[in-house]
């Protein structure tokens, strides 16, 4: 065993840090209020757009926007451990580092798309020119995705789509829907689903952004009313969408904002050190020390699961249970971190960032809300536990 990084990896980490130091706007730490594992403030990456645009362009130039892609498709061709190092550092600095197109769309197209589709989409994604949003969930298909009802019916060279999607993060600031549709209504639920790419600007697409409880338009209701798309926008084979969707889950294994946990924790620790009450720093109070230590320990555990996942992927091992544990653990940690932040900060934890009395730019206040999205987004913790029990431990479904 060896828990150190290779020289090459250390150099890469340094390169990332230098890059971030140079490219990330100086006021980023104030402006960006992303809470680790939350979804509610993600859209902020888009709203701060000139800055994000420029940073994204620079990332694309480095090949880091598509860091997990092979070189032939414009990626960086790095090892999983290097990808993990990249994700760790970028999330530590709360920097934008790709989205659905780069993380899910591109890799899926690489695996299952035909040559035409690869040529059409991969270079544009790699250059950061197109952004996808994830059009999976529907009002009656949340945890139970296989029951989606949005239909796509063939019409010559086209498909005509009718239905409604919901919860796709940042739909209103993206270009295309990466979308699951039902293409065979008579087949069993899992066998009649296809993956398609739909232009947000296509006639019949109506995007109605919804405000989330953090105050951001992070997700939308999107209506599809006789939306026509060319059949060449079907990803891979018709009716194999469910399988592609399951495979794509694996692409997200390292997209855990692990560094964000450490960073936010460090900020809270700093607060506890600097805040005195009756002459004694908060960090000297035994209960606060105990709770902060408990968070530190859990962050370390999350890191271990994170590196372990990367290490397994590099060795072509399947980190099924490890990746689920990592997801479940960080999801709950997001909430514990917010809670502990609130315990440390007390009344101050409640203040929004705009107040002159607020500390840590109001992160903990917003984090208290955003951590809820971690618990309910991208497969609830309950679903994660089901997966661990059934896939990981082999417990019977019935």
């Amino acid at each position: 065993m060896d828990f150190t990084f290779s020289e090459r990896e250390e150099a890469f980490r340094k390169e990332i840090e230098d890059f971030v130091d140079k490219e990330l706007p100086a006021d980023w730490v104030e402006k960006n209020i992303y809470w680790p594992a939350g979804y509610g403030t993600l859209a902020q990456f888009e709203e701060l757009s000139p800055q994000v645009e420029q940073f994204t362009r620079r990332l694309a130039e480095k090949g880091w926007l598509t860091i997990s892609w092979p070189k032939e498709y414009g990626g960086a061709g790095l090892s999983y451990t290097e990808q993990a190092i990249f994700h760790e550092r970028m999330s530590y600095y709360r920097a934008p580092a790709g989205e659905i197109a780069t993380r899910i769309g591109g890799p899926t197209i690489m695996l299952f798309g035909n040559e035409e589709m690869k040529k059409e989409w991969l270079p544009r994604i790699a250059r950061g020119e197109v952004r996808f949003w994830l059009a999976y969930s529907e009002p009656n298909a949340g945890s139970d995705l296989s029951s989606i009802q949005t239909r796509a019916i063939g019409d010559g060279d086209d498909l005509i789509i009718n239905g409604q999607k919901i919860w796709g993060t940042a739909a209103h600031v993206s270009h295309y829907a990466w979308m699951a549709v039902r293409t065979n209504p008579t087949a069993p639920p899992h066998k009649g689903i296809s993956l398609v790419i739909v232009d947000n600007a296509a006639p019949g697409v109506t995007i109605r952004p919804m405000m989330n409880i953090c105050g951001f338009y992070s997700f939308s209701e999107v209506f599809f009313d006789n939306v026509r798309i060319p059949k060449r926008n079907v990803v891979g084979e018709m009716n194999k969408g469910w399988y592609y969707l399951m495979v794509a889950l694996d692409f997200e294994r390292l997209a855990i904002p692990i560094g964000g946990f450490r960073r936010t924790f460090e900020e809270i620790v700093q607060y506890a050190r600097e805040t005195k009450h009756n002459g004694q720093a908060l960090s000297q109070e035994p209960l606060i020390r105990n709770r902060l230590a408990n968070i530190a320990i859990q962050i370390e555990i999350a890191y271990m699961l994170f590196w372990q996942t990367a290490w397994m992927l590099d060795r072509s091992l399947v980190p099924n249970i490890e990746a689920s544990l990592l997801k479940l653990f960080t999801t709950e940690l997001s909430q514990k971190l917010a809670n502990t932040g609130m315990q440390v900060m007390g009344h101050y934890g409640q203040l929004e960032g705009t107040s002159k009395w607020s500390s840590l730019y109001g992160r903990v206040c917003l984090g208290c809300l955003d951590c809820i999205s971690a618990l309910v987004g991208a497969g609830t913790s309950e679903i994660q536990r089901n997966i661990i029990a059934m896939r990981g431990l082999g417990l019977p479904p019935k």
Binding site: G215, G346, C365, V376
Partner: protein, 377 residues
């Protein structure tokens, strides 16, 4: 023992629930939360007409002569409906203090106006240290002739932005014992030198910074005894903690009811999600938290009502309910899933209140320390 509500209490509870459902729909709650003032003068007037604002004042002060337990029951319903506004600060923090510690003149001046809905009050206790101990009171009131000049910064003052008068806790004497030398003043919110700035908070509950820059008040504005105000403040805090618990119990009950109803209706995987064991156990744990919270709260409220020593019971209630409401609200969010994460949904209104209520008047650790102390540890 009698653990039931009296007929009068049942009526109060029922009429409050009906009235609030009708007059304070969530649409209004949301609107008030997002407003600057944070309350509706129309609703306020109606609450006065119903006798809520003077509920606990004797009739001679324009009240209905009901007791603290009745007030707790009313607050439970207000919590059930997450009613925004300065009711808590006016009646609990302001009115009860004047009723308990004010002189006859002050009672005659303030209580009827409160009861009629003509006066909004609040208490300015906490300062930038954000703590509830006497040593944290640094705001100074300096005596000159028969006047005082008050100087200091009060923080997290509830509803000060709309208050007519602010009960201001200040230090009038420096001694070794931080509990000695504290005086409470009734300060006109429009006094020269007083500035109030609204803070934006998680619960959108209109907490304010109140800066007192040599605000002049007269001797007449002293509530209770000069220099001996701390026991009074402790008494307010105790009552406020219990009253807040009542509000929280109502909120937790509402969150449970909402989640259970949703779990019965929402279908996934071909069955109501409430038929999944994981959701059932979530709900059972929520029911446990609500059921566990209610009677420790009632007991503390009853003790306050009866004028019995309530320090232990108040601390038990606040320590437990603070955390229980938060657990319930978070579990409700988990049951609602993504839909509950939208601003248009109601459940976050409860979660926000739970978070704010957890902290105000001392969090769970603060009150567990009191429990330990009261147990002689």
């Amino acid at each position: 023992m009698d653990l039931g509500l009296s007929e009068e209490q049942e009526m109060l509870k029922k009429s409050a629930r009906d009235f609030l459902k009708r007059e304070c729909p969530k649409q209004l709650v949301r609107q008030l939360d997002e407003s600057q003032e944070g309350y509706s003068s129309e609703l306020w007037r109606k609450m006065a007409e119903l006798g809520w604002l003077g509920l606990v004042f004797p009739e001679k002060y324009g009240g209905s002569g009901r007791d603290f337990l009745d007030l707790a029951i009313l607050l439970e319903e207000m919590g059930y409906n997450v009613v925004p506004g300065p009711f808590f600060s006016t009646v609990v923090l302001g009115g009860l203090t004047i009723l308990t510690a004010g002189n006859e003149e002050q009672k005659m001046e303030f209580l009827p106006k409160i009861a009629r809905g003509e006066m909004i009050l609040t208490l300015a206790l906490t300062e930038p240290s954000a703590s509830y101990d006497a040593a944290s009171v640094k705001t100074k009131a300096v005596n000159r002739d028969d006047k005082y000049g008050i100087r200091g910064t009060k923080l997290f003052v509830l509803n000060a932005n709309v208050a007519d008068y602010i009960l201001c806790v200040a230090r009038t004497k420096e001694t070794k014992d931080p509990e000695d030398g504290i005086t409470v003043f009734l300060v006109d919110a429009r006094s020269p030198g007083l500035t109030c700035t609204l803070l934006k908070t998680l619960a959108r509950d209109k907490q304010c910074e109140v800066v007192l820059d040599n605000v002049t008040v007269s001797e007449r504005s002293v509530v209770g005894k000069r220099d001996e105000g701390w026991p009074m403040v402790k008494d307010i805090l105790q009552k406020a903690a219990v009253a807040k618990c009542a509000e929280m119990v109502g909120g937790a009950q509402a969150a449970l009811d909402m989640a259970v109803n949703y779990a019965k209706e929402r279908v996934q995987f071909g069955r109501p999600i409430g038929s999944f064991q994981a959701i059932q156990h979530f709900c059972a744990n929520m029911a446990m938290d609500v059921g566990g919270s209610r009677f420790v709260t009632y007991k503390a409220a009853w003790k306050v009502s009866e004028g019995l020593p309530a320090a232990l019971d108040a601390a038990i209630a606040k320590a437990w309910v603070s955390e229980a409401y938060g657990r319930v609200a978070l579990s409700a969010h988990q049951i609602f899933g993504a839909i509950g994460f939208t601003m248009d949904h109601d459940i976050h209104l409860y979660y926000r209140q739970a978070k704010a209520a957890e902290i105000v008047f001392g969090g769970a650790d603060f009150h567990r320390a009191i429990v330990a102390h009261e147990l002689g540890l």
